[in-house]
Amino acid sequence: MNTESRPREPAAGGGARDPGPAADGPAGPGPSARRPHARLRRLGRHLLLSEYFVLYLSILYMLALGPFLPQLFAAQNLADMVSNIWPLLVVAIGQNFVLITAGIDLSQTSNMALTSVIGAVLIVTSCDPVLFSKCPLWGTFLTEHGGPLAGMALGVPIAILIMLVIGSLIGWVNGVAVARFKMPAFMVTLTTMMFFSAVAIYLPKSENIQNLPHAFNVLGKGRIGPVPIPLLVGAGVAVGAHLLLSRTLFGRRLYAVGTNPVASTISGIPTARIITRAYVLAGFCAALASVLYSARLEMGRPTLARTQFIDIVGANVIAGVSLSGGKGKITWTLFGVIFFVLLANTLNLLDLPFYSIDIVKGLVIFGAAFLDVLRTRAAAQGH
């Protein structure tokens, strides 16, 4: 969806201004190079224009806060912060695929909630009749002795597999609606969001599902050797996604479709299929993130991630992923997520009255967004 009113293509597009008909030489005034402190400015420009801008920004922010917040660098806190990155990263990466196609997926949150509930229902080891006897699954799927896969040898992996499949299916529904029936992505995913969130609450009649097997919970904070499992998952997804986008046929075609669907179709790209896949990936990632969140919370939650949409899209957009399609990299998403997590963490450590937290958060996001605009302009001049 094009919500941009500034000249369409930022930095990477090269030249924020269209050179126009049969470009008689590039348009736009040259960079103002005739100024003092040229070297300093060049350094500034370099930092500003670099791919890693948002990362630099985060580091700067962290250093700037250091003196106020010694505990920011406490080993435990750093560990927590890092552990908070991965689930968000996974779901945000999913969103990135969709954003590249100039779409948007609001249903990721309810996707996470539903898969969380379903996964939990399958493996829960025991549940209280008082709470669950009224819920539609009682007797068939749920009993005092838990769900169908409870205590089974491969119960947990199977359950996770099912979660991922269902997540992907939800994505597929979105994808088909958008790609085949040409429905506006925003509306499609808004309605599926309402729908599946309602289903997630309906199945367990609002109850959280606790008593999940340790084999599952361990995914939330367990380690393999020194490495936390969520880190492995998150990093794995990130690397995979990065390769998928930058090194494969699908990746190239995804960008093409996001840039110009008509030209792509005529060039023999299966536009509809590519778009559908993007949504499937978004669904898959949501489900995977749901595994991580559910595990760390040690329960299936019908309201999981209810308020998270803003962070998911925000993290992407702040890092320069364009809502009008064709632009987006996994590294950007990573930096955006780091930025948001860092922001949340510092706001949490700072002893602020609750209302000023929102104000500060707003200001920081604003600052970051504005710097991004400046870099777009600078880049435009530079071209």
Binding site: G20, L249, T259
Partner: protein
């Protein structure tokens, strides 16, 4: 007409009452000079044909005049008084009407609204738009250029030609004294072009001054009183049209004597049939079309704008669906509405508009060229791309077709001139080594040099044994490149001419049979 040319020949004084004068105008981007001391003056009641290759500086000069760009040096005089536009508005106010090459119409608004978007007529003492008055005035303006469409019609429902004429009417409505026409005929039918020329002549008789820019030199010769030729930002020649027949214009433009506009014909048709279309029909668009393309043959498809030729190509290639009929490649039946099937069978389709359907404007040249053949560079299961090979292949193609760019990897397609953009589109398809090539107006709006290259590329492809269906509304180019010409009119094939029977007027007559396309 007088024009001064620094350093070349005796510089003459600009005459009294020159409508407009450039005096030593210079302009450069990033230190690269685009206009070098251009001095030129325009007489009232005359048409000046401004020609030159893409990148010669025509548009820059006109943008300076139109207030879009500011000159680095030199002066401009409007009717003898200094003229320094700060923005397009100033030029408009000063009575300079600029008809841009690309359309600036709002497709979701009506014709009338587009004409008055800058200053709507309102009911007295209210902010409300006076729709009736607006409609009346619109009708008048449209009548001036003989365009008979309802002022209330949404622009998105108009044909390209009609849109172009609306754009022109819009400028006429401002009643300027000086007109700039930048490639006005690219999307006009022959009939509409005729109308436009009448309008221009009428303007001339009303003492208006016209600058007419076009790559169709025939038109310039037909219309202009004087010609001025730009090359690399310099005014290299100027004088009465009589002294500048088309060949001389060309040699001035390219700076050397081009043997001719067209390369010698290299290909010759063979027996084997590559493409066979039978009884292709889609109500309201085409009816019972039969055609074949042989190995090594270039089949010209001539027809006026709106005759259904573009639609036909789109259906053959599978972009649009059709109700009845069959398309065979070799002897395999081609499924309907599936471009990918067509491509897998070795078909390629160069569409008529590069911007919307041909290129990914913000994407690099290399990636554009790689787009179609991409699967060939991907490993089977993983889809992992062999990027080095891809890079080499695209670069090679780009060089083969002489695409002028600083970096194929970094430079986005939109930064190229029209001609080079068209070459990128061709390169994209050639990389997939097509056996059947559908080309729709491949030389529209590109300069003579680039045209020559395009003809050569297509001819070479045919010589190597591919078949080409070449759609064009420029008959002379078909006569030059085609082995056979099919004529289309109102969705039907109405004539076929072997190379032996090529003759301009016969083909034309066929094309105009039953008059031009009807408009309700």
């Amino acid at each position: 007409m007088h024009a001064s040319m620094e350093g070349r020949g005796p510089s003459m004084e600009a005459p009294e009452g020159a409508a407009f004068q450039f005096l030593g105008v210079t302009k450069s981007f990033f230190g690269v000079p685009v206009l070098r001391e251009v001095s030129l003056s325009l007489r009232p009641g005359s048409v000046l044909g401004l020609v030159g290759e893409n990148g010669a500086g025509k548009s820059t000069l006109m943008n300076v005049m139109g207030g879009v760009l500011r000159p680095d040096g030199g002066r401009m005089l409007l009717g003898g008084t200094p003229y320094q536009p700060q923005e397009p508005g100033d030029a408009r106010a000063a009575g300079i009407g600029f008809i841009h090459q690309e359309l600036n119409l709002f497709t979701n608004l009506s014709v009338a609204e587009n004409m008055f978007i800058e200053s709507f007529p309102t009911l007295r003492r209210t902010p409300a738009i006076d729709k009736r008055r607006m409609a009346e005035r619109t009708r008048e303006h449209l009548a001036q250029i003989g365009l008979d469409i309802s002022p209330g019609a949404l622009v998105e429902t108009l044909s390209p030609g009609e849109r172009q004429l609306v754009e022109i009417a819009k400028v006429l409505a401002m009643q300027p004294r000086i007109f700039i026409f930048d490639e006005p005929t690219t999307s006009l039918t022959a009939k509409e072009t005729g109308l436009l020329f009448e309008v221009i002549r009428r303007l001339r008789t009303r003492r208006a001054s016209i600058i007419y820019i076009s790559h169709i030199l025939g038109h310039v010769a037909e219309l202009a009183d004087e010609v001025a030729v730009l090359r690399n930002g310099e005014l290299v020649a100027t004088g009465p049209t009589a002294e500048y027949p088309v060949p001389r214009m060309i040699s001035c433009m390219v700076g050397r004597d081009l043997k001719s506009i067209f390369p010698p014909k290299a290909s010759a048709p063979q027996e084997e049939v590559l493409l066979r279309v039978e009884k292709l029909s889609q109500p309201g668009i085409v009816r019972d079309v039969d055609l074949t393309v042989h190995k090594g043959e270039i089949v010209g498809l001539f027809g006026l704008m709106g005759s259904g030729r573009t639609e036909l190509a789109r259906m053959i290639f599978g972009v649009d669906r059709y109700e009845r009929g069959t398309v065979r490649v070799g002897n395999g039946l081609l499924p309907r509405g599936d471009p990918r099937a067509a491509i897998e069978r070795g078909m390629a389709f160069v569409t008529e508009n590069r911007r919307e359907e041909g290129l990914l404007m913000n994407v690099s040249i290399a990636d554009n060229i790689g787009l179609v053949a991409l699967p060939e560079f991907a490993r089977a299961v993983t889809g992992h791309l062999r990027r080095r090979r891809l890079q080499e292949a695209t670069a090679q193609k780009a060089q083969e077709l002489h695409i002028k760019a600083t970096s194929y990897e970094a430079q986005p397609a939109k930064s190229l001139s029209g001609g080079n953009q068209q070459k990128v589109v061709l390169a994209k398809w050639l990389l997939a080594a097509p056996r059947i090539l559908l080309v729709d107006e491949p030389t529209r709006g590109i300069d003579v040099g680039a045209k020559y290259d395009v003809y050569t590329i297509i001819g070479e492809l045919a010589r190597r044994g591919s078949g080409v269906l070449y759609i064009s509304s420029e008959l002379e180019e078909l006569l030059a490149v085609a082995d056979r010409i099919l004529v289309m009119n109102r969705g039907e094939l109405v004539g076929q001419f072997e190379r032996s029977e090529f003759a301009e007027e016969r083909v034309m007559r066929a094309a105009f049979r039953q008059g031009d396309e009807v408009r309700p």
